[in-house]
Amino acid sequence: MVKPEVYGLFLRVRLYGILKDIVGPEVKIGTDKPLTVRELLALLNDMSGGGLGEWLDKVRVAVNGEVVESDEAIIRPGDDVALLPPSAGG
């Protein structure tokens, strides 16, 4: 089981693969309000000076260890969020 870590009123986002290079390996966002996945991606894109650009369509977002399919899914402070580029195993 994934254990969400609470950072006060922060939201912790871990990034993988090329996204880590663009945005950074981990981002803490100060917020006490829930966000949608769409809002979170927009925020991260702004933080990276628009660097997420072409990746916004390809990124998958996992919340508490499961991929969420909808851009309208809600993320709450304390949730464990991961931004995942297309897989490249093997």
Binding site: V2, R14, Y16, G17, I18, D21, I22, V23, G24, P25, S48, G51, R60, A62, G65, E66, V67, A82, L84, P85, P86, S87, A88, G89, G90
Partner: protein, 155 residues
Amino acid sequence: MRRVLVGIVREEVDVGRIVEGFKPLGKEGYGAIVIFVGVVKGVVDGLGVEELRYEAYEELAEKVLARIAEEEMRKHELGAVAIYHRVGDLRPGDTTVYIVVAARGRREGFAAAAEILDRVKHEAPVYKLEVREDGEFWVIGDGERVPRPPRPRGP
């Protein structure tokens, strides 16, 4: 005997030991063990590869591997499935991924192993950076290469 073995691992996996574990399933009618072992290539598109740096979102990756194993086990009526993916800095000749299935017959076995491998490549949250003689590239999906962008912080 555990019928589904999966893991994101740092070390090599002992294929002989998995075969040893799956052999007794012959008694139940599983007569074909098919294994795929991926190996880092030293040459891609004619260019030298120094290293593949693998990382995984591990909490999710192991769940995804287990899900693939269980779904394919049902679909192909397998007796057992093992899927291991390595992470870390791997060099040409190092192993990367291991798929082992025990199937009723050879056709199901080959089909299942090939399909599991495809799914692992596309579904498991595993990422690789190819360090080549002409620079560093993120491998995206099944072969597209994107030059590593400049980083916002440290190397």
